[in-house]
Symmetry: C2
Subunit: 218 residues, 2 copies
């Protein structure tokens, strides 16, 4: 645990975090559940601070880029967690200490172990120190959702999206617009958006279409 910027008061928590289920019980599976939630909130806060203009959808997308099995395995390797994993003999022989999923799970469990050892602020500090450089490296996409969708479709030679006004309601000074955005390639996707201007509603709808496209790819 030399590479982690944290010293455990109770080292047995760190040991449990590094015990894979192949080594029997107790193991790190329950801690992983808690660690995943803790990572979720600390990275959410980092994005909330660093991207004050990002929509909820954009922040979700960015977080999914930063917190996923592959990305966490990279961090686990930087912390050299593989050397300290406790694995069953089968996993040991088949090289489980090198496997992304096992490393990512141990990383999540370790985040929970810090929380259980010393509370939220300690856990937050550890997670922030690891993720701050990654959040800072995200290009500040000044491109709005409509532009990103258009560029994505154009890059592949697909037809541009069609935006339609569905409805607008409210008094003149406080109108709400409902708009649809529809694409036919690479799949038929249609989403509705809402906003206080037609343009804002279109951005909202385009954001949803972008997210669905990403889900189709994942």
């Amino acid at each position: 645990m030399t590479k982690l910027a944290y010293r455990f008061s109770d080292p047995s928590l760190a040991q449990l975090a590094l015990t894979h289920r192949s080594a029997g019980r107790p193991n790190n599976e329950r801690m992983e559940f808690l660690g995943d939630a803790l990572l979720g909130v600390v990275v959410a806060e980092l994005l909330y601070e660093a991207h004050p203009n990002a929509s909820e959808g954009e922040m979700s997308r960015l977080r999914a880029q930063l917190v996923n099995g592959q990305a966490l395995a990279v961090l686990a390797r930087e912390l050299e967690l593989g050397d300290e994993l406790k694995l069953g003999s089968g996993e040991l022989k088949s090289g489980g200490f090198r496997r992304d999923s096992i490393l990512a799970d141990a990383f999540e469990a370790l985040v929970a172990a810090v929380y259980l050892d010393a509370g939220f602020d300690a856990c937050r500090a550890v997670v922030r120190s690891l993720f701050e450089p990654l959040v800072a490296a995200i290009p500040r996409s000044s491109k709005d959702a409509k532009t990103r969708l258009q560029e994505l479709l154009q890059a592949r030679g697909w037809p541009l999206p069609q935006y339609d006004l569905i409805d607008s309601h409210g008094e003149d000074h406080a109108k709400t617009f409902d708009v649809s955005c529809e694409i036919n390639e690479p799949a038929q996707v249609r989403a509705e958006g809402r906003g206080t201007s037609r343009r804002a509603a279109e951005q909202d709808a385009a954001e949803t279409v972008l997210r669905r496209l990403q889900e189709l790819n994942s």
Copy 2:
């Protein structure tokens, strides 16, 4: 905000949390992202404490029961958030203050507002006071995953699952078992499980099958 067991130092945070996007910008959408993550971690911790024998899969399932749009709307109504929502005139006329999704979003945003106002411990205390009774009301399912899966299938007259040993490895005193669990009704679902006994591996596989069935239903 009289019903919430918390007094804001900065009341503008509470106001923002209760501002729906139909009322323009800034609104509560970004706070909702942070609040969702905060609820996730505080409820995860409650379940971690209250169900020391629950697997990761069971805790996920229980959390999804407690933290979803409908459940959060119930809490929002108990806190009478509907009366304090700031909505655009369209939503106001169409009764948006009664809609589950709008209420649930405001509740999530309010959780984030407490965090931004006073930090994690204050936020945790507010969320725990609301969720502790709900967590305590969960029947402590002493039924294991194999039993629950069997009962679910029997209740609908579907065939029982088939468990097969795929592999076992490791030395005698530290063996690991890989087992598959397969069902054909209501859909063909097959999952593999692993454990330090054949029975534990079967429980693990059954848990995954139960989760997939739940995903099919949701």
